[in-house]
Amino acid sequence: MTPRSQGLALGIVVVALAALALGYHNAFILNLVFVGLIYAVLGQSWNWISGYAGQISFGHALFFGCGAYASALFAVHHGSPWLALPAGALVAAALALAVGFPCFALRGHYFSIATIAVAAIAEIAVNNIGALGKANGFEMPILAPSLASLQFNDKGQYVLVALALFAIAQVATVTLERSRLGYYLRAIRANQEAAASVGVDARAAKLATFGAGAALAALAGSLYAQQTLYVGPEDTLALPISIAIALVGVVGGLSTVWGPALGALVYVALARYGGAVLGGQGHGLDLLLYGGLILLIVSWRPDGLAGIGRSIRRFAKRRSAEAPA
């Protein structure tokens, strides 16, 4: 898609969801939309490093957790959530740089397993650190609803805030795709040696992307915590969350602007029937369907749902071009 049609598509989605948030007051549906947007942002932040740069991370929940815990800590200690957002993002980015600096020397699955190991260490550590609430986590105090406290009575307003973050993530992705860094990343994914031989600093490019993605994931984590007002290791840091984030990215389509949003849509729709949204165990049917979907996509369409959409568009274009004027 050209940038203009990207902007148009984003505009339509934003207007439609904003209208829904303001006009429709079904808390259940709005909650699903909110979680869907959070996952779309998480999937996108994962897509930067794992899609465009091809470094598959199975530990992304670590950064989501950074943001969530930042919000919780600021709320418990009477800080403004507007300070928690940048604080969580900074911590997440710093962690990503600290992890990425040694681990980007690893290739392929060695890197993937390392991300699982790091996230697992962090989860165990949080489970045992008193200042971080151990396994119980934090209940955040309920404040007077306002934009300053980032707490609202109406689910629709949470949706609006998440929508803003989603729009930022989408615009950032389009910018990334067309930037020098975006080309570097795709070159690294295709062949790191070849990219390095023409002067691409692979480690710096990967680090920048990983850090930015971690910060974005932390912002999503903060917003999520503002809405649930509870933060615990089980539903922010655990491996199933990392897996869910990767799921959203793979199903929608790697290295595509709209893939994570599509993946999140499917995820939320399935979770709605599976009864599990973020961390809940549900009865597993959603996971079963999701796993099946991934298997189908990986064996037949590695570019995911967005890729299928692209083929359909191309097909339609060819049809209209062939049709007599």
Binding site: L106, H109, I113, A117, I124, I243, A246, Y290, G292, L295
Partner: protein
Amino acid sequence: MFALISVGLTLIFGVMDVVNFAHGEFLMLAMYLTFGFALVGLNPIFALPFVALAAFVLGALVYRLLIRRLLDGPPSTVVFGTFGLLVFLQGAAQYFFTSDYRSVPNPPFQGTLHLGNVALGEAQLIAGLGALVMTALVFAFVEFTEPGRALRALSEDRVAAQLMGIDVQRMNALAFGLGTACVGAAGALLMLTYPAFPRVGTEFALTAFVVVALGGFGSVQGALVGAILVGLVEVLGGFYISPALKLIPVYALYLVVVLLRPQGLLGRR
């Protein structure tokens, strides 16, 4: 116990240059199958050969139907494919078996052995011995039989092995089946001391990755040494630091090994 799980993983990895993220899920399935046998009154030890055989067939099938297709794509395809398999199997287990913990009813070997002032659970002892015997069997197979030699040839140099007339597809299926049979046997033994639940595989698989990295990907002896080391680190970490934190040194060990000595302790490059 980790040795057996890891030997399975290392076989698949070494021969096919493929990492199976769903390895732990095969373990989980094997545990449920053993549980099923136990429900009809079969001791896990006697169920072991059947479970291992079933796992072998399952592994070979999964290879034929899925993994072979993925090998044509870029390396990340296999990561995502086996990852999809992980999610699929976990979801299936949760859906059909629910997430309750299930243990063998009236488990055999409840006694305790006292060697001096060391107390050992009989079940643990038998599970450990069983794992050791199975590891030795796999080692013997890979080291001394004709198909075993073919497997090793493949892991050393795929193209040369192919030129010598080794059927790569058949050997890959064999390696995948054998690797899965190893976790099958491990699952049966594990049921002596551990409950089955849908997410049981993840925990063990992660440790198995540490073991395999430690021993060198693709080395059976390495897996055994790595398993013993990881077991020691886990126990010592639990003893000297805190039982709740015992897995931290284990995972940290993985990071240290892959960053500083990627070929593993015994691996060659």
